[in-house]
């Protein structure tokens, strides 16, 4: 029982006395930190081992931790309320943080917008927000075109499905989620135009019970490849695999959860993004206030293809991936209708991945079964 190793009286007295001594001297033992180190704070809305959104950021933070001259501060499960303002101020005031990565969407408005003018010397880098002219200049937002990753997921799914029905467990009908659903189906339709995608919205970013129910409902309806856009894909993955469905991952690598049933996954590559940002911050270079990037920029990456992907699937996947890497690729292109029959893109019209119009998407394309309201 190694956990009890510190129960003996001597070490208890020792640590207590040492800590009391340190407290009495006015400085509570700080973590080892060389003078002049840059303190970088990472704030997560959920647990940092959620196999999803937060883990992807925590992996990025781990990469920053390995950089020389940087101290990383982390805090998980911080709600998008007054709490996050308190956490940011605590990191600034107690730990001297000068670069913050508050990673949840809801941290931006009003919390970062409120604190940034108060702490002019601190840089606030926010994931997902839409920084606009007039916002504080010591704040910025970054995000990745992960819809392309879901398009590639769709290609792997299109080759794997036998029932020609694929499924999507989604949190909320907001543009970032709708773009992923549409891209997933359009990727699959690039393989076989008869494929349909059933979507179920759970209404919350993290609601394990509903996510399991939704996955089961999709399996019951015959969907044999399932992906998702919720904060932690763990429940969806494990439930889908237990029902014999293939899984396409999201946010982080879920292959340890799905094993051979894992086709591929659309992952964030925050390790690359964060080490770059921290390096330019340390070098005193200017960081753009509005930063976006895709597969080619190293903002997102794909999980290695699983053993269930056929050779034909592998070939098409790699070919399309190369096309996306070359730039200018559009998943949403005409002729295309939404699933209510309205025209989204006329023949010859295309919305490339960088098009800002995609950031206000409010429709599901033809072939997606589900409704945005």
């Amino acid at each position: 029982m190694t956990t009890f190793r510190n129960l003996d009286r001597r070490s208890f007295l020792g640590t207590t006395a040492a800590a009391l001594g340190a407290a009495a001297l006015g400085g509570l033992a700080r973590p080892a930190q060389a003078a002049g180190d840059l303190s970088v704070g990472f704030i997560y809305v959920g647990p940092k081992d959620d196999f999803g959104y937060n883990q992807a950021h925590a992996e990025g933070a781990a990469a920053v931790k390995a950089m020389a001259g940087v101290t990383v501060l982390e805090e998980e499960n911080v709600p998008e309320s007054q709490d996050v303002q308190n956490t940011m101020e605590s990191m600034i005031n107690f730990d001297g943080a000068t670069l913050l990565f508050p990673t949840s969407f809801g941290y931006f408005n009003p919390h970062i917008l409120e604190l940034a003018p108060k702490y002019q010397d601190v840089r606030f880098e926010h994931c997902g927000g839409l920084w606009a002219e007039g916002n504080p200049t010591n704040a910025g937002s970054y995000f990745g075109y992960i819809g392309m990753g879901q398009y590639l997921n769709g290609i792997a799914a299109g080759h794997a499905t036998k029932s020609k029905k694929i499924g999507f467990v989604a949190a909320k009908p907001i543009p970032q989620v709708l773009n992923n659903i549409n891209s997933f189906l359009l990727g699959a339709r690039a393989v076989d135009p008869e494929i349909t995608c059933q979507v179920i919205f759970t209404g919350e970013w993290s609601l394990a019970v509903k996510e399991a129910e939704a996955t089961n409902a999709l399996a019951d309806q015959g969907c044999d490849v399932i992906t998702c856009h919720v904060d932690g894909p763990k429940v969806v993955c494990e439930t889908a695999v237990s029902r014999g469905a293939y899984v396409c991952g999201y946010h982080a690598d879920q292959s340890p959860l799905a094993g051979d049933m894992y086709l591929t996954g659309a992952e964030w590559n925050w390790a690359g993004v964060y080490t770059d940002l921290v390096a330019s911050f340390m070098a005193g270079e200017e960081i753009p206030n509005f930063l976006r990037g895709g597969l080619a920029d190293g903002f997102i990456k794909m999980s290695p293809l699983g053993p269930a992907v056929s050779d034909a699937g592998r070939a098409q996947f790699e070919a399309v991936k190369a096309e996306i890497m070359a730039g200018g690729f559009a998943a949403i292109k005409g002729p295309l209708k939404d699933n209510a029959g309205n025209i989204i893109a006329a023949d010859g019209e295309a919305f490339v991945e960088t098009d800002v119009k995609l950031e206000s998407m409010d429709y599901l394309v033809d072939g997606v079964m589900g409704s945005t309201s």
């Binding site: 956990t3 009890f4 190793r5 510190n6 129960l7 208890f12 640590t15 207590t16 040492a18 800590a19 009391l20 340190a22 407290a23 509570l28 033992a29 700080r30 973590p31 501060l73 982390e74 805090e75 998980e76 499960n77 911080v78 709600p79 998008e80 309320s81 007054q82 709490d83 303002q85 308190n86 956490t87 101020e89 605590s90 990191m91 005031n93 107690f94 730990d95 969407f105 809801g106 408005n109 009003p110 997902g128 839409l130 909320k172 907001i174 543009p175 970032q176 209404g203 950031e359 206000s360 309201s373």
Partner: protein
């Protein structure tokens, strides 16, 4: 015990009467305080098992929660919603009702405040803010008052109904925020339209915490006067102790139940108003932060005494303010503070059994000196 002991004698010690009067009050302070210390001791054992230093832990709690102006700002900014949510539990509790659904009144109050805010954008001065607060209190009062009415008119268990009504409230909230009242410009985070700058509640001049703290203090004072210093409160306490006796006496039990639950709900609604007007600036899913549930703990720890709610909420706010520093400095998971609070609370609740067991706290002990 000799016969002489049975005969009441005059107090011998000077000031013994005062001591006798203080004895009962001292009990109400000494027992929770001792329980708090016992809770700290129990959690220290837990930390030692984890191989961490208790001294460092308590040092960090002190540093993050109470040691400096910034710590107090961090602590107090959590206090306002906790105090108001706790009153939503404490007021009905004086009538013997266990209402645990304050969260519903908070989110609906916040929604009402945000929607009223867009409607009164042109109203001059503080009138707009007052209208928003009134709307929030009205809906909160209606929501929890309905639970009281269901209890007294239909015999529906108020604990279950308030909990379930909180789920309904959150579902309604989500529907309205994502549907009819959604600001079309709020793309990836459905919200109501942002409030005008004139309709925002600012910070107090002496510390960076919003005016909700003052409102919470006032609400506690009003509740204390109502319960301890008015006939209405007296009637409510009788009904809470023995509802049959109250009915036989001809006390308006039904009106008391509905009135007290509605007042508690109004305070919870007010918490929603402050969250929207002082913190978020619009109503959105971030409002569902669980203050209504933490308020239950505060109220029970304060033994439903409105004046005790204040120090308990400050203590709890300080504990929660230290959560981040403990995660960062001690490499402990964020649940550590929950374990800590849980252990302290269980021991404080156990200490309820100690009341009346110590002769030192009885007036008779002092009168005989």
């Amino acid at each position: 015990m000799s016969a002489a002991d049975q005969i009441p004698t005059r107090a011998h010690l000077p000031g013994a009467r005062i001591l006798a009067g203080l004895a009962l009050r001292a009990e109400a302070v000494a027992i929770p305080l001792a329980a708090l210390l016992a809770g700290f001791a129990a959690f220290s054992l837990f930390l030692l098992v984890m191989g961490k230093s208790p001294a460092e832990f308590y040092g960090l709690v002190w540093k993050a929660g109470f040691s400096s102006a910034f710590s107090w700002q961090n602590t107090l900014s959590r206090v306002a919603p906790l105090v108001l949510a706790a009153l939503c539990v404490a007021l009905p509790a004086r009538l013997g009702l266990v209402v645990i659904g304050g969260e519903g009144a908070i989110v609906l109050g916040g929604l009402a405040a945000a929607v009223t805010g867009t409607a009164v954008a042109g109203v001059p001065g503080y009138a707009g803010l007052i209208l928003m607060a009134l709307a929030a209190m009205a809906i909160g009062g209606f929501w929890i008052g309905a639970i009281g009415a269901l209890r007294i008119r239909r015999g529906v268990n108020e604990t279950i109904s308030s909990l379930l009504m909180a789920y309904i409230a959150i579902a309604l909230f989500n529907y309205f925020v994502e549907g009819p009242f959604r600001d079309p410009a709020s793309l990836n985070k459905p919200s109501t339209a942002p409030l005008a700058e004139a309709l925002r509640v600012g910070d107090m001049p002496w510390i960076a915490a919003h005016w909700g703290v003052v409102a919470g203090v006032l609400a506690c004072l009003v509740s204390w006067v109502l319960i301890d210093r008015t006939t209405l409160g007296f009637a409510a306490r009788i009904a809470g102790d023995n509802v049959r006796a109250a009915q036989v006496q001809g006390l308006p039990v039904a009106r008391l139940v509905i009135g007290f639950t509605a007042l508690g709900g109004a305070f919870a609604g007010l918490a929603g108003f402050f969250e929207v007007a002082a913190v978020h600036g619009s109503a959105n899913a971030s409002l569902i932060a669980g203050y209504g549930y933490t308020g239950i703990l505060v109220a029970f720890l304060a033994r439903h005494n409105p004046l005790a709610i204040l120090p308990v909420a400050v203590l709890l706010g300080g504990f929660e303010a230290s959560s981040g520093l403990i995660q960062r400095r001690m490499d402990l998971p964020d649940a550590t503070i929950l374990v800590f609070e849980g252990m302290v609370f269980v021991i404080i609740l156990l200490s309820e059994a100690l009341y009346g067991r110590f002769r030192i706290f009885t007036p008779a002990f002092w009168e005989r000196r």
